[in-house]
Amino acid sequence: MGNNTMEYAVKVQNLTHTFGTLKAVDDMTFNIRRGEVFGLLGPNGAGKTTTVRLLNGLYAPAQGSIEVLGMNPQSEGNTVRRRTGILTETPANYDRLTARQNLEFFGTLAGMDKTDLNRRIEELLTFFGLEKRADDLVGKYSKGMKQRLALARAFLHRPELIYLDEPTSGLDPESAQQVRELIESLRVQNGHTVFLCTHHLDEAQRLCDRVAILNRGRVLAQGTLEELGRRFLPGLWIEIGLWMPLPTGEEIISRQPGVLQVNVDGRALKVQVNSESQVPAIVRGLVEAGAQIVSVQPVKTSLEDVYFKLQAQERGEA
């Protein structure tokens, strides 16, 4: 267990949680390595929030085991929560308190020393661009400012593990970009682990080292994007750019061995092949037919493709 504790920030084994007859979390198993950004993706009601609550000891699991930072959140919840930070789905700041008072409150509850807390508050208020409004009541803040304050609250006590539920929702593009950069910077800081719940698949694709895709409380798939792509979208897609459209292009490519699919989009041909080794023969065939090729590029698997394929499979559409 010692080695696993060192390696993993979170270990979840066969976790199940029910509300009455509803299985909100159904036999979930996943591990999160220390220092990685792990994404939990899924539609509303997939069990993301319940999972985060279970990991923080707010609910007792019906079945299964959880280990967070080497501790059991059920019996050591207070210590676990002291070492984790969270951005909840809604900012949920105290509107009748100032930003500074909000942070002082949560920092004191996290056991921070007063001098360190004051220094940290200044640092975060400046980072999130709230320093000029630090002593205004939060009730007067815009939605984006409230979200930034909630983020500052999550990072305040320098938690080893940070849960971020839709961190960029309600933020303007500039602030959203700033938050993404913050998450990326945490990745490089030793020991920081980020657990990201998001609907933004492009955000997850950009930030997450690994993801788990959920539906109705179950993990449909998990792994790195490459692993998911290999498993659920086999084959390789290449895009061939032409100087002029070639009416016979589709027919020529389809004749080549190892070609699975061809889509023609004007001067661009999208081809799915078994492996890279088929690419030179395809290019040769096109050149011999008089095509003027300007580019040949592999198309990267997108998380969106994998996500929608899995959700469609779950609905029985594929």
Binding site: R53, G57, N78, R82, N93, T108, L109
Partner: protein, 276 residues
């Protein structure tokens, strides 16, 4: 038990409470009526017209009531004229239950803000993600309601002493208030009733969605105190030192039972249902 956490939660609630106009107005208006306006009316109107007071006390019903007073009151008003006796009777005895209404209202309005208010504004979830234990969360909020309710009642008592003695000095010719029965009332019964109000408000807060609903429901407890007021008027019960001590003891026992029940149910999974 981490007292720093408990105090931090209580202090946060005090800041919030101070910015709730509804709570602040209850804290000002209720004492203003009970400890200044009504006492002044009771003292100054009869004092300015002794004939009217004379006439009032010759009313057969009131005369019957006066003759039925228990010894501990009769001994005090013996030898006084009707105006003096009236002031002592009303402000020294009949008025006492109002000093139970005040802590009850203060405690329930702050508790409604601290518990149901947190639920209404959906701020409870981040609080549940802190390292404070369930008991610390509960005690922090109880303290947030209890301390101001008790302190303002004490302050109101001090102001009442000044108003009553000051306004009645020309009639009474001496400092006569407080009477002995007030000490158990203020220091024993009033804190007990504050805790009762908080406990009931917490129970109500788990079932209603808003601060106003919680406050209005818990303020119905005032009826209990009005029962005491009516009981005194009807000559059924008088708040003597002994009655005060016994009433306080009963209330503290009820408080202990309720708090035990609440602490058992004041858990994170239950509180999360407030957040959803």
């Amino acid at each position: 038990m981490n007292w720093k956490n408990i105090l931090t939660i209580a202090k946060k609630d005090w800041i919030e409470v101070r910015r709730n106009k509804m709570v602040v107005s209850v804290m000002f208006i209720v004492p203003l009526i009970f400890i200044i306006l009504i006492p002044l009316m009771i003292i100054l109107i009869p004092a300015s017209s002794p004939e009217a007071a004379q006439q009032m006390f010759q009313d057969p019903d009131l005369a019957g009531f006066m003759s039925g007073l228990p010894d501990f009151i009769s001994e005090i008003i013996e030898g006084m004229d009707v105006t003096q006796a009236g002031i002592v009777l009303f402000l020294g005895y009949m008025f006492a239950p109002f000093f139970l209404i005040m802590p009850l209202m203060f405690a329930s309005v702050i508790a409604a803000e601290a518990f149901a208010g947190e639920r209404e504004r959906k701020t409870i979830e981040p609080l549940l993600y802190t390292s404070a234990t369930d008991t610390e969360l509960f005690l922090g909020k109880v303290l947030a309601a209890f301390v101001p309710a008790f302190l303002i009642t004490l302050l109101a008592f001090v102001v009442y002493i000044l108003v009553v003695n000051g306004a009645s000095y020309s009639v009474m010719g001496r400092i006569w208030f407080p009477l002995p029965s007030w000490y158990p009332l203020i220091f024993w019964v009033s804190p007990a009733i504050s805790v009762l109000a908080i406990a009931i408000t917490v129970m109500i807060s788990a079932r209603v969605q808003t601060f106003m609903e919680a406050y209005q429901s818990s303020a119905a407890l005032v009826v209990l105190v009005l029962g005491l007021l009516v009981g005194q008027m009807a000559g059924v019960v008088y708040l003597s030192v002994g009655v005060g001590m016994a009433l306080g003891a009963v209330l503290w026992v009820i408080d202990a039972v309720l708090i035990r029940i609440i602490v058992r149910t004041f858990t994170r999974p239950r509180l999360l249902s407030w957040a959803d």
